[in-house]
């Protein structure tokens, strides 16, 4: 896929509307093309602004307590491992459900 073809599809990709085949080709291309990567970044910022256009709701109070409890639970084994290793500071912090977080189009 060349730059012109990628540019044609960038907006759809940023919206998550490119199909899996197109998405894979775009990702391969922008990995090596600064110009197209920059255009994709701009398109993704426009797409993200759509989220701000939606009505904002207050998160339920239980969300915060659930998040704090879960992160606390995950931190305990890390602290124990650090103590056992006699290490300090940064840890790997692998979570049980630690999956990638990089934005990607739906497949």
């Amino acid at each position: 896929m060349d730059c012109e073809q990628v540019m044609e599809l960038l907006d759809a990709y940023a919206l998550g509307a490119a199909d899996a085949h197109e998405a894979a080709a775009i990702e391969e291309h922008v990995a090596d093309c600064v110009r197209c990567w920059s255009s994709l970044d701009a398109a993704q910022r426009v797409a993200a602004s759509l989220a701000l256009s939606t009505a904002q709701q207050k998160a339920p109070p239980s969300l915060l307590s659930r998040v704090l409890a879960e992160t606390e639970r995950r931190q305990r084994p890390e602290a124990a491992a650090r103590a056992l290793a006699g290490g300090h500071g940064r840890t790997g912090g692998r979570g049980r459900r630690g999956a990638r977080l990089r934005p990607r189009p739906p497949g």
Partner: protein
């Protein structure tokens, strides 16, 4: 750590209100990238500040896609727990933290819709919903709230300025999680027409939001 344990105990005993998280004032001054950097060192106050800043936004985005408060809460929890577990997933050089966080949330919510096979009929938000003002992320950070409210107003105005058919395909793609092909089938419109509407709509949004983008 100790502070967090105390908060948890207070939550359990009903002494603390959890709907307003009073993040550390010192941390409220820090930018998103600095807060994320501190997560590498397991800084819980940095994490709380991020939640305080964007908890409502993440939940709102998940709710808009999923249309189910319980699922939206589950997905929001997952997003924040992953943020804590894998702070390295965000690479500052690749773009703005807020853009990344919204994309992650949107993509995870769409994945959930797809995995459940819930091809629910997507409906655009009512005008009342669209016009509702941001109650703003949190009461502790007026400057951030003002900035997000301004961005929200600009985004709403830009979206409202699109011709209806362009707005429709963009919302079906972004919030409905549909591919161009699926939108074409849903609307009974040729694929080429859908592609053109998306491109034209995004061009107009880009032009309308250019001043906001420059300020970022």
């Amino acid at each position: 750590m100790v502070r967090n344990r105390r908060l948890l105990n207070e939550l359990k005993s009903g002494l603390a209100r959890v709907d307003v998280l009073s993040s550390d004032p010192e941390y409220r001054q820090l930018g998103d990238d600095e807060l994320m950097r501190r997560l590498f060192y397991r800084d819980r106050r940095a994490f709380e500040a991020i939640f305080d800043r964007y908890g409502d936004l993440v939940y709102s985005m998940a709710l808009r896609v999923l249309r189910d408060p319980h699922l939206a809460e589950d997905i929001s929890q997952e997003i924040f727990v992953r943020l804590w577990s894998k702070p390295g997933s965000y690479v500052a050089e690749r773009g703005r933290f807020l853009t990344w966080l919204i994309s992650v949330t949107r993509n995870r919510a769409v994945d959930e819709v797809r995995s459940r096979g819930r091809r629910q009929r997507y409906e655009t938000a009512s005008p009342e919903e669209q016009e509702r003002e941001l109650p703003a992320g949190n009461a502790n950070d007026p400057a951030l709230n003002a900035q997000l409210a301004e961005e929200a107003r600009s985004a709403r105005a830009a979206l409202a300025g699109l011709p209806g058919e362009q707005r429709q395909v963009i919302e079906l793609a972004y919030f409905g999680g549909l591919t161009q092909q699926e939108i074409s089938q849903r609307l009974g419109q040729p694929l080429g027409t859908v592609k053109t509407r998306i491109r034209l709509g995004m061009q107009k949004l880009r032009a309308a939001l250019a001043p906001e983008m420059k300020r970022e």
